[in-house]
Amino acid sequence: MTIEMNKNGGELKLSIEGRLDTTTSPELEGKLKGELDGVTALEFDIKDLEYISSAGLRVLLQAQKTMNKQGKMVIHNASEDIMEIFDVTGFSDILTIE
């Protein structure tokens, strides 16, 4: 997994490439923990995310919980396969996916 991060004031943009699984999710979780203070707009670009398991969903849900208190969170460019996982788990109802 590769994470590319851009911070501009209260805006944080993350592009995630590869696999978000049990092995890699702690890295994303750690990055978010260190960077979310003062962020009011969080954006994920998951165009090149190939795989997500419950470990990855857990990190996204935690981020959404945090952002509901301090701003908004948007997910861009989910592939059809990833979207199916969001649908099955009800995440398409609780995340903002554009």
Binding site: T22, S53, R58, L61, E80, D81, I85, D93, I94
Partner: protein, 136 residues
């Protein structure tokens, strides 16, 4: 069935994934279908690694094959840890709001939803969990 005996720890996840999906490139399994099977293997294996032996090391045997008509992928997980039937675990309520939803508890639910069958038995001190998916 091909058989892999390994230690139940999450560091072995990649080895287990490679073992259970070996040959998929040759058969020509679509990426969407492949992800479903990989997610199932990950969720079950990580569950065993995390809970079966209460955090201590322990063995797990994984058997897998593709056979039959229609062509069906079958994978069996056998551990000798605490008796645990994941099929008895209640499904998470996926209609809850962000605030109400618990972080976690989705793994086994995803397996149930994506596999064609999931069976559990406890025999001779062993948890035996079998999942199948038709490769269409």
């Amino acid at each position: 069935m091909r058989e892999l005996r390994t230690e139940a720890k999450s560091e072995n996840l990649d080895t287990v994934l490679e073992f259970t999906t070996d040959g998929f490139d040759v058969i020509g399994v679509s990426p969407a279908l492949r992800m479903k099977m990989e997610v199932a293997v990950e969720e079950i294996f990580v569950n065993i690694a995390s809970y079966a032996y209460g955090g201590k090391p322990g063995p797990v045997v994984i058997k897998t094959d593709v056979s039959g008509e229609p062509s069906t992928w079958k994978t069996v997980f056998i551990d000798e840890g605490i008796e645990y039937n994941p099929l008895k675990k209640p499904d998470p309520d996926i209609s809850l709001s962000v605030e109400e939803r618990a972080v976690g508890g989705l793994g086994i639910y995803m397996v149930k939803k994506s596999m064609d069958s999931m069976e559990y038995e406890y025999t001779d001190g062993k948890n035996i969990l079998t999942i199948t998916k038709i490769l269409e």
